[in-house]
Amino acid sequence: MQGIIRTIRDGSGFDILLLGLALLYLIIFSAFPIIYNIIMSLQTVDMFTLTSFNRPFVGLQNYYDIFSQPVAGTIFWNTVKFVVLSIVFQLSIGFGLALFFQQDFPGASYLRGLFLAGWIMPALVVGAIWKWLFAGDFGVINYALTSLGIADDRIFWLSDPNVALYAVIIANIWLGIPFNMILLSVGLASIPRDVYEAAELDGAGVFERFRSITLPLMRAQLGAVISLGVIFTLQQFDLIAALTQGGPADSSNVAQYWSWQFSFQTYEISLGSAVSVLMIIFVIVVAAVYVRSTRHEHSY
């Protein structure tokens, strides 16, 4: 007993205790739910078997049921569009802004910091604001588009099945720009100035310098930001809940929202689990690639 107390006070027991507490918590509330999720996706879980510990085992039936749903194709394709379009625009706008604010002018870093206001706000509130901006009859976006002559008529952003998904994507791009911009700014700041000066002396123009210096030196950063973008985009739920709730007719529904709808709206919990398992696997693979690439970078 004395020995245990001493090792906790003064030895490696102290480390093990501190590490163990947090890890134990994460195992109970994070790792175990994942395993439980996999088990549930192989069972029938609905309102009747919810509290039971002995549920019927159905094998891969739930996975089969998901893919045989008529909307499955639409939803997975929507998810792909949601992720790809969000990232392409977040990244290019964020990169553009990072390059712009990298220049030397008064208040540059202060203004850049203001952009993070969009990132710190609860996504549900951002969704509420965008819902009002997108409003069909009185929305300011429609006013801007029609008065600038970009659109002939009002666009019913959230109730037209052809555009609802794009409305959600636009709001998500707005949310993601600050994070992309700040992370890329850090990368840009670490490129030594004299590399550019040397290139300029050799007669390289602005685009040449960007292509042959900035892009190659930012490769690791861009990789990190893209993987984080995939991860954050797949976490996006609040925005969809606020804007369209996946509608109209699943036209703006994505996998992470679909999974929640199964579990909490139609109570087909095992189907929700199955979608969730598939998406978690995908997210973890992306994250593993990201972590490996940043680790790799450290060994230089």
Binding site: Y25, L26, A128, V140
Partner: protein, 270 residues
């Protein structure tokens, strides 16, 4: 001269980006007929201060209280569990620590909307849903704890090892060195990271929506979502609600802006 042209372009871009925020405050201040004017006005003709009314009629006090309670609970639990763990991860280097760190990084990315299904069933079976706010605190802590550990670890890495070693040579115990040397030196980073996870939990939606059944225990996000309902027309009120809700968040953010930015970037890229 060029610097001032850049400044003007920079200001213009910031203004365009922050327009949605401006529109929220503007709509909150307009009268309920003015918001439906077309073309819309860009400055309130007849400023209305209906903040108190919306606060009372929507029962915002209760919602905000629940959100605060959950955010405080999550922050206390995550800092208690996470700080020591972050310290160990920053000091010890061996293969087990590498594995633990990798596992923590993996858990950082799990989306709440996907984790909520097994958590709901599990909490239901062990009866935790009877105290739903605690259930949300437990679930949300599991969500933010990895992020807290990763960001805090970056702070501890910056504290010179020699300071701790000197204290140990002087006869301090490990516990003593941790509380008297390491914690005070890492104070800033711990503070900023706690603020960050506090703000994140203050705006939490998925777990509150899915685990809390009773309206009087709901959070401010769910209150806003209910307000928005399927046929929402009271955009004036909704934007007032939103403005009341996010203004404190924005103020805290403005005060700590620089530190949050540096803490965040250190953690995400190292």
């Amino acid at each position: 001269m060029k610097r001032y042209i850049l400044l003007i372009i920079g200001l213009a871009m910031t203004a365009i980006y922050l327009f949605p925020l401006y529109w929220m405050y503007l709509t909150a201040l307009k009268s309920s007929t003015e918001i439906f004017q077309y073309p819309p006005t860009f400055w309130p003709a007849d400023t209305q201060w209906n903040f108190l009314e919306v606060w009372k009629s929507r029962g915002m006090g209760r919602y905000i209280w629940n959100s605060l309670l959950i955010a405080v609970g999550v922050t206390i639990l995550a800092t208690t569990l996470g700080t020591g763990c972050a310290y160990v991860l920053s000091r010890v280097r061996n293969v087990w620590i590498e594995i633990a760190l990798f596992a923590i990084l993996m858990m950082q990315v799990l989306p709440s909307s996907l984790m909520v299904t097994p958590i709901f069933v599990m909490f239901n079976q062990i009866g935790l849903l009877a105290s739903p706010r605690i259930a949300v605190i437990l679930a949300q802590t599991a969500k933010v704890l990895p992020l807290y550990i990763v960001l805090c670890r970056a702070t501890f890495v910056q504290v010179p090892r020699e300071l701790e070693e000197a204290a140990l040579v002087d006869g301090s115990s490990r516990i003593g060195a941790f509380f008297h040397i390491m914690l005070p030196l890492a104070r800033n980073g711990i503070l900023v990271t706690s603020v960050l996870i506090f703000l994140q939990s203050f705006g939490e939606y998925v777990y509150a929506r899915s685990l809390i059944a009773k309206n009087e225990l709901q959070t401010a996000t769910v209150g806003l979502q209910t307000f928005m309902g399927p046929n929402a027309n009271d955009w004036n009120g909704i934007m007032t609600y939103a403005a009341i809700y996010v203004t404190p968040i924005l103020i805290v953010f403005m005060l700590l802006q620089r530190r949050i930015v540096s803490g965040l970037t250190a953690g995400a890229l190292k």
